[in-house]
Amino acid sequence: MPFQRLASAIQSGPSRLRDYWKADLRADAISGLTVAVMGVPQAMAYALIAGLPPVWGLYTAMVTCVVSAVIGSSNHLVTGPTNAICMVILSLTAHLPEKYGYGLLEIVLLLTFLTGAIQLMFGALRLGGIIRYVSHSVVVGFTAGAGILIAANQIKNLLGITLDERPEHFFQVLSFTFEALPESNFFALALGAATALCVIFLPMLNRHIPGALVGILISGALAYFLGWHLPEMGASKIEIVKDIEPISASLNLFHFPQLIAPPPFELTRELGVGAAALAILGLIEAASIARAVASQSGQRLDFNREFVGQGMGNIVGSFFSSFAGSGSFTRTAVCYKSGGKTRMAAIFSAFWTAATIVLFAPIANYIPKASLAGILIVVAYTMVDKRRLIITWKSSNQSRLVLFGTLVSTLILPLEYAVFVGVFLSIVLLLRVTGQTDLTQLVQRPDSGFDEVPFNRAPQSEVVTVNMEGDLYFAAAEDLDYELLECITPKTRVVILRMKRLRAVGSTAMAILERFDEILKSRGLQLVVCGIEDSLKQIMTGSGLRTQIGEQNLFYADNKLFQSMELALARAWSIVEMERRRDDAMKKSVNSPEARIRISDIHSKRILRFGNQHQIREAVWLISEMMKTVDQKAAQPLFLQNAEGKLDSELSLWNVLQSLGNNIDPQTADVLEDEALGECMRSQFTESIGARARKDLPRIEVDASLEEALYLSKSLKLQTLPVSDEEGRLTGMATPLGMLKGLGAALDFNPEKALPKA
């Protein structure tokens, strides 16, 4: 971390410090200056949003900025006054001085302290991860709402109007401003409009021109030299910064917040809710901005540390005449884009801001309030993210609800509640999204792996594999039965549930399995489950569900069994074949004399595929796992695939036995005890299966004729033949018994004639 880099540089001696000096200091200083040039007018204007003296905005841009930069996690986050936060401060505090008789500034400092304390607590309780759950739509909606409020509130400053009555909410702001329109001061409007035009158009000419700074300098100079700020102007006198509270060229910031010790109970209680809203809003802003920058810079963020940084920034700020701040999007972006390397850039910006106060206080005092309002109108316009609003409006219902719900509540509710509405909405959204379980059908790709397809697009098959994905809450489990049943077609015999990617409490998952198993059984269908996690396995053991479904139909998801899906498929196809045998369906299908037996009539899908790079040990283990669930005596091969998923070779059971027997000395084989035999076979375990497998495989397609397959089997001495589809991808196998059955059907066998008399 660069700060630690700096700290360790200081510790480890001058050479390291010199490294920083050479490498990053210059970049940080320049970046800090850029931030300050943009930030000074912004900070003063934002203070105006909160109804506070502009100089307080500068203080916040210094103290809060430095503390948060030093303690926080992000390298580029610039903390300070922000538009949305200031709007909340105004909404929270504007009416309180009348009510309690304390000064507005003291109330704001108490609020700042409380906000910081709550944020610190969030960080200390390590709630940093929680921020992830607040939807970005909340931020967009809230910012847009705050932008509209700011614009509405600044119209009066732009027009130089003083309202007789303090508006309580958005609509009063509009109506009071409207009533006072006749008193508009056109000098103020001219200055504000000129500043706004500078802010808009100067950066278009050259993006390095700080539009806001030039704007207030030009409009300030204009007002000053024309004498518009002088009392002689009467009603047309424009208000300047000095009239609100003069900025003095000193940095005597320390001011003990009088209301902290002890805090007045009633006031603190009333501020508490607002402070919580401010704290949350501040953290959301800071975290999302820090995250946005980190995604470009590649820094790994520790959100808990960021929370502590924000909290400490505000707590310390409350002792230095600062109001609550947060991460500023514009200044952070400028800091990163102008080449800021470490958090020293933010500290430098504070330094340059301080320098501005000391050097230019006399000038800053003459900045017209209307000019700051002009800046704010432009800021307010940019706060409404039109593109994002349109996209969200067209997107899913849920994020539309969150975004516009938040936006509307900023306009009709006290602003602090709008924050809670947004957070609440995004939690509801989160629960709805994650509460959904995604069901797709897995269709085996003949090369390797599976395609996930929606139920209605999956081809009908005897074996249906359903992939369950997502989170499963109990409520969602209710509907799941019906959804699951949709996978069943008339052809279906076995349903495989893959639960590996399902996040659910064991008891919920168990309830589903139990019910689904019952439903399937009532329809004469079989259930096979794979990807069962340990937690579920334990609960199932206790409940007897393992016996109900049948141990041979369950495949567990311990990491040994990454092939649990393959094994489940082999099991499912063996169930299908067992049933088919019972029904003797084959006989019916080929009984018509015309029927010519094709490979497709006899081929078995109960195949096991395996990579050709594995060792004998793994093949032994896989086959023995399969034998535990597939009840058959016939020796079944493994079909090996290469890295591209193409059929590479066939490893027969005898090939495996040959390998295992390779180190058995024929002389002593008759007296070899099991233990020694085990040792002997294990010494073969590392042999590559590719070395043993047969590579000279014929290419037999599903529509090949039976006798072709028979001939190939005999001439190649290959007992079990791989069967491919038209594109040459493995789909199944023709076993000796399968071929014999085909032959029986072709030769018109029937049990009565063929069976010998006892």
């Binding site: 040994k560 005596k633 005898w654 070899l672 294990r682 028979l710 014999l740 049990p751 010998p756």
Partner: protein, 160 residues
């Protein structure tokens, strides 16, 4: 110290028919007999004296019926193959038997069975005691027993 032997692994439930039976009958038993439930089809064959003569598996019947038949170029040839196969159905099962089949005794060790199965590539090895067939040891059973012994907790699973 223990040693797994053929007698531990062999299946005693199996069919035996005599060399007098035809291939057609052997095939009928394999296709419709009880043992199809387990996907096995091996039957032991005994000669007129009641002594062991050999084992017939589905594979042996298939290969036996194919015999030295060859598809004719440019002709899928089912019409030619089926009469050919049909004609062979009435031959005695003894024509399918391997002249000197691999056999085990009840005392045969698992190690020996592993070697036998690997070498014979046969679905099962008959267990003979004093000329009589006592049972059949399937290659799958040999494998299962071998895997049980060879696989230790540390060697299970598949390396990713």
């Amino acid at each position: 110290m223990s040693m797994t032997r053929a007698s531990d692994l062999m299946t005693k439930r199996f069919l035996r028919i005599s060399t007098e039976h035809t291939i057609r009958e052997a095939m009928g038993i394999i296709l419709y007999g009880e043992q199809t439930k387990h996907d096995t089809g091996a039957i032991a064959i005994i000669n007129q004296e009641g002594d062991f003569a050999g084992v017939v598996t589905p594979n042996q019947i298939v290969w036996g019926l194919v015999g030295d038949w060859k598809p004719v170029e440019g002709n899928s040839g089912e019409s030619e193959f089926l009469p050919f196969a049909e004609s062979r159905l009435s031959l005695s099962v003894s024509t399918l038997l391997t002249p000197e089949p691999t056999t085990a005794s009840p005392q045969t060790s698992l190690a020996r069975l592993v070697l036998m199965a690997g070498a014979s590539e046969s679905e099962c090895i008959p267990v003979i005691d004093e000329g009589r067939v006592e049972g059949l040891v399937y290659a799958t059973d040999i494998f299962k027993a071998a895997a049980d012994i060879a696989l230790t907790p540390g060697t299970e699973g598949i390396a990713l």
